[in-house]
């Protein structure tokens, strides 16, 4: 049961290789596969209510020896969000991406990426986590270079090098940790770290983990690869990346903070707050100074990662619930804005705000499709972005962390400014007719994918009264690592 979210994409990859000559079958199979993943995610989430944690050991080996999959509400909710975004992204890609790329394995790589993401969300073993990270990152390497345009190749060199350095630091940290603790099972490690004062090298290992996941999640001094590489592949791919790659990095930070760093809050909380604040400020300032829709949105990814980190640093029920809600909201809203930006490109032939204009006049529906997720990113009620920010700020004031909370407030005004900038420039400004702006016929699947993700954003915002309980429950589980340890290792006292 717990292995389904990984097995479905892996089986789909094999089938997609078999159908590589027929694009129609590939598209159909991909859609079936993402819906099957949605079904798996929903059934895991339903089973969670009442159990707390779900544990499955591969091959039936008992916990510290075998590799286990563990699901709690955090991973369950993120699995659900990933599968929902994947449905929108696959449908959107059918309409948006050119046939050459689609034929050369776009859908296969999507499934590879999904296998890695789902595996990383579920695994309970640190080395296994590294393997899923590599599955995910290698799929993304090929996705980002697919098409081999000059700009893509330039960008992918940066992307490749930064991510590989991150991976190597990750493995080095695993080596250090294993030499000190003699185990790599997360629950076992968390238990042993709590039993006795940890040897000093464990702290260096955790610092290395923080840097490795910081590179993957694009937090402050390590974020430069993201805005350099995300704008280059087709925007359908960028939208999918924005919803998956960095968010998994944040999820792992959340998990590790709950397991290890929580023991040394006096050291880690200021570190996380400083990094979070700088990530927010740098991201939003660079977004405010860009004039390309893709670049603005890419810098915004960085800025929003800062909010998620802030929630991790707060580490209270409301703060963590806000952080998880923020991750889910970002998956939906960010993907939706990227998709709407892609539709603008299909109609106008440019991402450059200086060339665009009058979309509100010519395509009012498209303008609204952009407006809803953009307001969500800026944090205007009743969108989920407002509730995420509200929870984070509430927890911040509640815990008397004044400086980070005020930084978050100022950054959110700047976010609103840069979203309004896109709106003013692309939607309301009179259009300058230039030769390279062409209105093409747009495939209905591109519209449909955008609709799906925009509706998801709205739905999350409007139903927050019901869904908040799930986020709060996820936060409570993270605050109580002993329940996780007991679920995986039933014999612990």
């Amino acid at each position: 049961m717990l292995f389904l979210p990984v097995l479905i994409p892996l089986i789909s990859i094999v089938l997609l290789i078999g159908f590589r000559h027929s694009l129609k079958y590939q598209q159909g199979l991909s859609i079936v596969s993402v819906f099957a993943q949605l079904f798996a995610a929903v059934s895991i989430l339903l089973k969670l209510s009442g159990n707390g944690h779900l544990v499955a050991q591969a091959g039936g080996w008992p916990a510290p020896f075998g590799i286990g999959f563990v699901a709690d509400y955090t991973s369950g909710l993120l699995l659900l969000a990933v599968s929902l975004v994947a449905i929108g992204s696959v449908i959107y890609s059918i309409g948006f991406v050119d046939f050459d790329r689609q034929k050369n394995g776009l859908f296969l790589l999507y499934q590879g990426l999904l296998a890695g993401v789902n595996g990383a969300l579920l695994t309970g073993d640190i080395f296994n986590l590294y393997v899923w990270f590599e599955v995910m990152v290698i799929s993304s390497f090929v996705l980002i270079t697919l098409g081999s345009e000059k700009l893509q190749l330039r960008a992918s060199v940066k992307y490749l090098v930064m991510n590989l350095i991150g991976s190597m630091l990750f493995v080095a940290a695993i080596g250090l940790l294993y030499s000190q603790m003699g185990t790599l099972n997360m629950a076992d490690l968390a238990y042993k770290v709590r039993l006795q004062p940890a040897p000093p090298l464990v702290n260096s290992a955790i610092m290395l983990f923080f840097i490795a996941f910081g590179i993957k999640a694009a937090v402050f001094p390590f974020f430069f690869w993201l805005p350099a590489s995300y704008p280059t592949p087709p925007i359908a791919v960028t939208a999918f990346f924005g919803a998956t790659l960095t968010k998994v990095g944040v999820y792992v930070m959340l998990r590790f903070y709950s397991m290890f760093a929580q023991l040394d809050v006096a050291f880690w909380q200021p570190v996380i707050f400083v990094v979070a604040g700088l990530t927010m400020v740098f991201g939003v300032l660079m977004a405010a100074s860009s004039y390309d829709i893709r670049k603005i949105l890419s810098f915004h990814i960085v800025s929003q990662i800062g909010y998620m980190l802030m929630g991790i640093g707060l580490f209270s029920v409301v703060g963590l619930a806000g952080a998880i809600l923020f991750i889910v909201h970002n998956m939906f809203s960010k993907t939706a804005t990227f998709m709407a930006g892609g539709l603008i490109y299909l109609y106008k032939g440019s991402y450059d705000l200086k060339k665009l204009g009058w979309i509100y006049k010519t395509k009012p529906l498209l303008a609204f499709l952009f407006l809803i997720p953009a307001l969500s990113l800026a944090g205007i009620p009743p969108t989920p972005g407002f509730f995420g920010k509200f929870l984070l700020l509430y927890a911040g004031f509640d815990g008397a962390h004044w400086s980070i909370t005020i930084v978050a407030l100022v950054v959110s005004i700047l976010t609103l400014f840069s979203m309004v900038k896109i709106w003013n420039e692309a939607m309301w400004k009179p259009e300058k007719i230039t030769a390279d702006l062409v209105a093409k016929k747009v495939h209905p699947a591109a519209w449909m994918g955008t609709f799906i993700v925009v509706l998801l954003t709205l739905f999350l915002g409007l139903t927050i009264g019901y869904t908040y309980d799930y986020f709060a429950e996820a936060a409570r589980q993270l605050l109580d690592p002993m329940s996780y340890i007991k679920a995986v290792l039933p014999e612990t006292p």
Binding site: F127, Y130, V131, E134, I138, F141, V142, T145, S148, K150, L151, L153, R154, S156, V157, K158, L160, V161, L164, I165, S167, M168, V171, A172, I174, G175, L176, Y178, S179, G182
Partner: protein, 116 residues
């Protein structure tokens, strides 16, 4: 012995960082390779260095064998090596394509000027 190995791993890290900071893209890829060698060696020695202890203990030997060598890092390093090999192959193809498209191996050419 472990001091020697520690120095070797440190040296490999130093080589890799030196190569990563060079301007040539070929040296960049070599730097990544050395980084993965250093890391893999470190992972390999995470189980500790022992000379005489066997990998498998004879269940009938009783208390005679006190120490066995840890087989897990050897399993881990196999996985890490295979992944590293795949990534190395991919990066070689990538720099080849990069050279074909741009005609340069200089990393400073990587950042194109902002098109206004």
């Amino acid at each position: 012995m472990s001091l020697l190995m520690a120095i070797l791993i440190g040296f490999l890290y130093a080589v890799s960082i030196y190569l990563l900071l060079r301007r040539s893209i070929v040296k960049l890829v070599l730097g990544i390779l050395f980084l993965s060698y250093a890391t893999n060696l470190m992972l390999f020695f995470a189980g500790g260095l022992t000379e005489t202890s066997p990998a498998f203990a004879d269940p009938n030997a009783g208390a005679e064998i006190i120490q066995t060598s840890d087989p897990l890092p050897q399993a881990l390093i196999l996985t890490a090596l295979v992944i590293g090999f795949g990534v190395a192959a991919f990066s070689m193809v990538l720099i080849y394509r990069f050279y074909k498209e741009t005609g340069t191996v200089d990393l400073d050419e990587l950042s194109e000027p902002e098109k206004s």
